[in-house]
């Protein structure tokens, strides 16, 4: 193994220690009963909650088709599907407006304060109003997500485009580029590291906001599952939900977003600063 690989492995192992300690304490509680199972269900109960929730699910294919018995996977797919949908809509919109505001000085100056304003409000703060507007259901959760994704991507794109040196534009104009080519070949690639950072941030904030929105204003999804399970005192399902939320986020961030961010920044020859 290379030196780099060994260092990386050591870091991962070091980072796993707190989890192992917590896990051990958790298992010890199951044996010694310091806390009642209703407050702190044993790991085995949380594990078996997966199968209880998936009881009516005939197989993997049905789970993917969101069959009626597959409760856990349905909630997961519902939450993740909304994230994907909000990205699909919010990303192009955020990038388009961000680029426009970035290259048009007046428009940029007009829209920048709104961007700061919108980003100052956490996604959850919109939930009560969203319920008034859209009622309980998918519209509310989607609105919360879209709101988070759009403003963060918009703002980061705007800053990214502004940070592109003017001399790049001048150089490409002198090669005979049209305004459109300047946008697609100078401003968008130049702002890409910043756009990717915006995507990563919006996913982080969006995921948190979504869970909260599903709890209060949703009728499905992991947040909704947490809320309903807690009301029915199924603590093991609440534990399971919390763990699933965290694991999904860690996997998305570490396996997709961080490498994507690192790749764009390194390729651009900018210094990668570990966050």
């Amino acid at each position: 193994m290379t030196r780099f690989g060994r260092g990386r492995l050591r870091r991962i192992l070091l980072g796993a220690i707190p989890f192992l300690v917590l896990g051990t304490l958790w298992q010890m509680n199951a044996v010694y009963r310091w806390l009642a199972p209703i407050h702190m269900p044993p790991p085995a109960a949380v594990w078996s909650a997966i199968f209880t929730l998936q009881e009516g699910c005939p197989g993997l294919l049905d789970a993917l088709r969101q069959g009626s018995g597959c409760l856990l996977t349905n909630h997961i797919l519902s939450s993740m599907g909304r994230v994907a949908l909000s990205l699909l809509v919010g990303l192009p919109l955020g990038i388009a407006f961000g680029v426009l505001a970035g290259i048009h000085r007046r428009l940029g100056n007009a829209l920048e304060p709104v961007g700061v304003f919108a980003n100052a409000i956490s996604g959850i703060a919109w939930v009560p109003l969203a319920i008034v507007w859209f009622g309980v259901g998918w519209r509310t959760t989607l609105f919360i997500l879209l709101n988070t994704v759009f403003w963060l991507v918009f703002f980061n794109t705007l800053l990214g485009v502004r940070g592109v040196p003017r001399v790049y534009e001048h150089g490409v104009l002198a090669l005979g580029a049209t305004r459109w080519k300047v946008i697609t070949q100078v401003y968008v690639p130049g702002a890409l590291p910043s756009i990717v950072t915006g995507i990563r941030m919006s996913m982080g904030f969006g995921w948190r906001a979504l869970i909260a929105a599903e709890m209060i204003g949703g009728d499905r999804g992991l947040g909704f599952m947490l809320f309903v399970s807690a009301q029915e005192y199924k603590t093991e399902e609440v534990f399971l939900g919390v763990l699933v939320i965290a694991v999904i986020w860690m996997l998305t961030d570490r396996a997709c977003l961080v490498p994507l961010e690192r790749w764009t920044i390194e390729r651009w020859g900018l210094v990668w600063r570990p966050s």
Binding site: Y168, H170, G171, L173, A174, L175, G176, G190, G269
Partner: protein, 228 residues
Amino acid sequence: MYDGEFAAVVGPSGCGKTTLLNILAGLLPYRHGTVQVDGVPVKGPGSDRGVVFQEHAILPWRTVARNIGHGLELQGVPRQERRRRVREFVELVGLAGFEERYPHELSGGMKQRVALARTLCANPVIMLMDEPFAAVDAQTRITLQEELNRIAIATRKTILLVTHNVDEAAFLGDRCFVFTRRPGRLKATVTIHIPRDRRIWKEVVADPAFTARRDEILELVRAEVRVE
């Protein structure tokens, strides 16, 4: 300017040399007078006037080859033809073997060679150069000046170079336009009659035809700086 001429604009800092070049490039609007290329008035930037900037204006996310071929790409030249012409200019500026590198992997002098090749590869009518060697070290600058001279011979391009470096102007220019201090006006035109193929630093420093002209320009420029 004549066809195939190498003109150098010299003057004290802040006299508007760069502004003049940006107006010629069409990147800045002008209030009075006219700018024409082959009788056609300039209305904005265009591929007939290539520009090599002071800073490294090449795009950091494009490889050397894709930066050099950018102008042809914008003109819609087919890939095969593009590849052939890019190879030609990569070799002209001595960057063979570096085609797939990114700018951040290159030295300052190499980046400026890429910028030069990028401009030439788009085949402009005239090449405008704004202090192209200001950011590189003295040794590299001398090498690049001799290379630019070689390239001027090989391509027979019309070139306008803006510089505050009197040696550079005298070494490269057929005619040197000396500007006054701000607001910059044309003060004098110095013609230098040294054949291109004899413009090598080792030779010209011993050539009175060069040193006399250079000292003449130097005096003209220093007179402007002194008044301040």
